[in-house]
Structures are given as structure tokens and as C-alpha cells.
Amino acid sequence: MAVISYREAVARGLREALQEDSRVFLMGEDIGPYGGSFAVTKGFWEEFGEARIKDSPLSESAIVGAGVGAAMAGLRPNVEIMTINFSLLAMDQIVNHAAKIRYMSGGQFSVPLMIRTVTGGGASVGATHSQSFEGWYASVPGLYVVVPSTPRDALGLFRTCRELGDPVLYVEHILLYGTRGEVPDEPYKIPLGQAEVKRLGRDVTIISYSRSVQVSLAAAELLATEGIQPEVVDLRTLRPLDIETVVQSVKKTHHVVVVEEAPKQGGFGAEVAAQVQRQAFEYLNAPVERVAGEEVPMPYSPPLERLAIPDADRVARAVRALLAS
């Protein structure tokens, strides 16, 4: 097993797609000679040429829409939206068109479009560049929403996504690009809708996705020194949602904390909490607890920003309080 970064994992997935499938081409802002805002596509333009690595104008709606049309025509476009904040400018194409064309056409047309984008806060880039909208998109039938937390998951999920017949929002986290992890050498894939227990435990189930998994694992290490053994479940995909793996864990631990970066009200954690209480009510010893972003626009100032995003201490405190209740 090689150790690679999250950025390298995504880049490997893209490179494989370009090498193995001539229907695949990339569109996005500054993905060409510049190499991508987060350097994921560095060297691609030189390697694959400008017909397949298409630097686009700052027109999120047009590039996603062009991806929709090209996908309907049988290609497999892979569009990069620089950050999920800018995806709002393409929401018409993502939600009204990409997600609905198969259904509205009675199955005559497919939209095998992959949209890569970047979520999350913690980089001191202020209120309009630090949001986490993946939970919104997870409420749209017809879309897949994929939120890897490790290099291994990033590559394994990517390989699955690029072969799907429907649009995928593949969401990378801004603070995960430099993180490193082991990746199997063989050409493995990870199916969508399969959560993973990232840490075995017995006392509480901490459920999260994307970077919050790393936060939860750090919290678990803190708690372990106090004799508390949390189990950490990584959802890995929000749509489809694997609630079964969560429920199995809850049956063992009887306590649940859901962790996410987005503001708590209406956050994806609320959906998880609702499904857990419905499907595992009799196994719960306490109400489902949620740790989420504060109900504020993300502040720029680093000390304030740290307060607005869940960290390991906050997750650990929530677990302690839950177990003490």
C-alpha cells in the first residue's frame, strides 16, 4: 500500500478516467495551465491537451449546463466547480436539469455528469467561501452526493462515480487536500451507499462525513484516554444514505452524536438523527445529540472561525455530556 495525499487520490481518479475512457473530458475554471485552484489538475493540460482539459470562462451555470448537454449526447464530462459556494450559480443546471432529465424524459436520456467541488471552512476565507452545502444537494432525487474523508475513499468512490449513469456531486474538503493515507495498490472500488466504521468502539456512535470524520476520530482519541471508546461511522455518501450501518452501530453503543460543519438548523445531521430515532428508538439510552456549525455566517477572524466549526474538543464535550445524562 502506498501512502498518498487526498489531492493525489482525486488526481489519480481523474487521470485514470482520462486515460481509460475517451468520452471523459474536463471543464472548469483555471483547470488548464494554472493546474486548478487546489492544484488537483496540475499537469493535466500538458498531458491530455486542451480539447480534453477545457479551461472555461467564469460561468458556472454554462459549464455545468454544457456538461449536462454533453452527457445527454453520450460523453462523460467531468466539471470542476471551484468551490461549493459557487455551485449556487449553477444550481439551476444541477437541480432543475441534471437531476431531473432522466425522469422527465421517461428514461430516454441519461446525464452521466460528474461535478467535482470543494466544501468546508477553516481556511480563513470568509463567509462566502467557507460553506458546506452538500446537505442541500442531498435532498435532490436524481443526484448522487459523495463526501470522501480519506485518500482511500476519495479514489475508491471516484472510480465508482465515473461509471455511473447519473449526475454526481463529488465533494472534496478544502482542508483535506494535504492529508495523507494508505491506498491499496490493486484497482479497488467503493460502492455508493456504504458507510464505513472508521474506528471500532462500544460506548457511543459518532456519525459524520468528510473532514468531520477526522475531527471525530481526533475526539475519539481524546475520549479513549478517559476510558470512553467511541465508534466512528463515516457516511461517505449522503445520497444514497446507508442508515443500516449506523443502526447496527447504535444497537451496540446506545448513544449517538452526529457531527457536521454546516449550521445545525436543517443540516444533514437532522436527517440522520430522524432516521436513527425511527429505526433504532428502542436501542437509544439518550436523545440523539448533534454537533454542528454555529448559526452564523462564517467569520473571517481565525479565533472566531474556530468557534464556528466543530472541533475535537467540542465533539468530546458533547460525548461526555451525553454519556453523563
Partner: protein, 323 residues
């Protein structure tokens, strides 16, 4: 040079669209058609003239006032009517409705109901043609209302810089829903000239003259097919009915309506056909009778077709062997 057969075929298609829309209005009042119903009456010369210049492999993309484009593209009138009835035999299997007609066999890539949303999609279809080096262009219809959407700007620019084989065809019927374009919506009325700002050639044509549309589009499709990049066409026309079936269109001055009624594209073309096109009254009568029969059959087919079954509610949300 158009043959008499082609000239009569244009008439047949325009008459079919007009009568189809009349039948829709009747079926709407009977409760067989639900939801929004935007009829194309008055604009037939555009769909018929423009689509007649396409090849079968070309793509047609349009907006929510899409029955006319579907019929002109050869989508079966039974399937369009059944779609309006919400039946499983509809051209979108009852999942689309009036605003979302699709027909893969005809490369009829859909009616799009978010104003302007179809423009980027058409750019993408054209991009796919260019990527694969195919002889295949995209014809995208839009209304004048779409001119003020951001997607118009984004798509026009993208099509221009990537030199995509797409035609953006604006059906300027002078109203965006109930608002007059001249009084309320755009400062600049020579909208075909807007294309110049994108480095795209803009051309204006009389949208109520099927032969003028046809003649222009023969040149336009030829040039776009040669790879010279996108072209923008503006056709002035007029809705003879309201924005939707629920709209009595009281906001339009009587004189204006009367003027455009006098320019109704169908009677004027019929008169031309009889006088200068070599057609006989008997041939016209034959077309009328055939269209009448076709629509009786379409309505019966729609009425007798089954609704989609409950077990199929979730069908086609995702590819069945998808994940």
C-alpha cells in the same frame, strides 16, 4: 428550390400544430390536461421553417412552449397528446407534461421550463458534436424573456469562444408572460444585434413567414455545419393566445392583437400557396381532412391509454443498474 410537396408539407405541419393546440384547449377545459398549458398558436412558421432545415442527426432543444417544436420535428402527435394527458404512452412516459416533451429517436432533446436553462444544455450538445468530430448541429429555441437571464449571457459567450455548432433561435413574441418587452423588459429592442457583443452574428427574420424562416435557416444551418461557430437568429412573432391557457391576455392592446391576427402565418401562407405556390383548394382540403383525422386518433389514443402504474413511481429516478 422547394418542391410543391415540401411547400404543402409546411402547410400541413403548421395547420397540424394550430389544430393540435385547439384540441389541447378543448381537452384542458374537459379536465383531461392538467397544470400549465402554453400553446404555440401564431408562432408555427418558426418551428416549421427552422426545423425543416435540420438533418435527422441534429439536436433540437427548446423551452416550455414546446408542442409545436415537437410536432415539427416529427414527434408523433399521439405521443404528444398522451403526454399531455399524463399517460404512460406519452413521449415522456407521462413524467414530463406539456413543458417537458422529449423524444430520443428524433433527437428532440427536450422542452426546458426554467427560462434560459436550455441554452447551456444546447451548448453542451454542440460541444459533444465538436468533441467527436460529428456532422451534427444543435438548434436551440428561446423566447425573448430568456434574454435577461444570466444563462443567456453565459451560454452565448461559451458558444462563441469554443466556436460551437449551435444556433440560438429567439422567438420574440414581444411579451415575457404578461409584460411587454418594449415597455418593461429590455431597453434595446433590436435584440438580434445583442449577439454582436459576443462576437456572434445576429440575424433578424419575419417569424410569421414560413418561407422566409426556411430560406434564412438553410443558410444558417449550412454555415454552422461548416464549423464557423454559433449564429443567433431573432424572429419577430406573436402569440395569438395568452401566455398560458389561464391567461386571457387582457394586457395587450386590441389594435396590436388585430394587427398580428391580420399577419397570422397560416392563412397568409395558404393564400400564397393557392395563388403562387401551385396548390389547389382540393389539396388544402385534403390536408385539413387528414389533420382532423389525425387529431381524432391522437385524442382517442390519449384517452384510452393507461396512466403510469403506482409501482413505477420510482422508475427512472436513477439508472436501474446504477450504483
Amino acid at each position: 428550390m422547394l418542391s410543391k410537396g415540401q411547400l404543402l408539407e409546411f402547410y400541413r405541419q403548421m395547420h397540424l400544430i394550430r389544430e393540435f393546440e385547439r384540441e389541447c384547449e378543448r381537452q384542458y377545459t374537459r379536465g383531461n390536461i392538467k397544470g400549465f398549458l402554453h400553446v404555440y398558436s401564431g408562432e408555427e412558421a418558426i418551428a416549421v421553417g427552422a426545423i425543416s432545415t435540420l438533418q435527422p442527426q441534429d439536436y433540437v432543444v427548446t423551452h416550455y412552449r414546446d408542442h409545436g417544436h415537437a410536432l415539427a420535428r416529427g414527434v408523433n402527435s399521439k405521443a404528444v397528446m398522451a403526454e399531455l394527458f399524463g399517460k404512460s404512452t406519452g413521449c415522456s412516459k407521462g413524467r414530463g407534461g406539456s413543458m417537458h416533451m422529449f423524444d430520443a429517436e428524433k433527437n428532440f432533446m427536450g422542452g426546458y421550463a426554467i427560462v434560459g436553462g436550455q441554452l447551456p444544455v444546447a451548448a453542451g450538445l454542440a460541444l459533444a458534436s465538436k468533441y467527436r468530430g460529428e456532422d451534427r448541429i444543435a438548434l436551440c429555441f428561446l423566447g425573448d424573456g430568456a434574454l435577461n437571464e444570466g444563462e443567456f449571457h453565459e451560454a452565448m459567450n461559451l458558444a462563441a469562444i469554443w466556436k460551437l455548432p449551435v444556433i440560438y433561435f429567439c422567438e420574440n413574441n414581444l411579451y415575457g408572460m404578461g409584460a411587454s418587452a418594449a415597455n418593461n423588459l429590455v431597453m434595446y429592442q433590436e435584440i438580434y444585434k445583442m449577439a454582436a457583443a459576443y462576437g456572434i452574428e445576429g440575424i433578424q427574420v419575419d417569424g410569421n413567414d414560413v418561407l422566409a424562416v426556411r430560406e434564412l435557416m438553410e443558410q444558417v444551418t449550412h454555415r454552422v455545419r461548416q464549423g464557423q461557430g454559433p449564429i443567433f437568429v431573432e424572429a419577430r412573432t406573436y402569440r395569438l393566445r395568452g401566455h398560458s391557457i389561464a391567461d386571457p391576455a387582457n394586457y395587450r392592446p386590441t389594435e396590436e392583437v388585430a394587427y398580428w391576427q391580420s399577419r397570422d402565418p397560416i392563412p397568409s401562407y395558404r393564400e400564397w400557396l393557392l395563388k403562387d405556390g401551385g396548390a389547389t383548394q382540393a389539396e388544402i382540403d385534403q390536408i385539413h381532412a387528414a389533420v382532423e383525422r389525425e387529431l381524432v386518433v391522437a385524442a382517442e389514443f390519449a384517452e384510452k391509454s393507461p396512466f403510469p402504474v403506482a409501482a413505477d413511481l420510482y422508475r427512472w429516478v436513477y439508472q436501474e443498474d446504477g450504483a
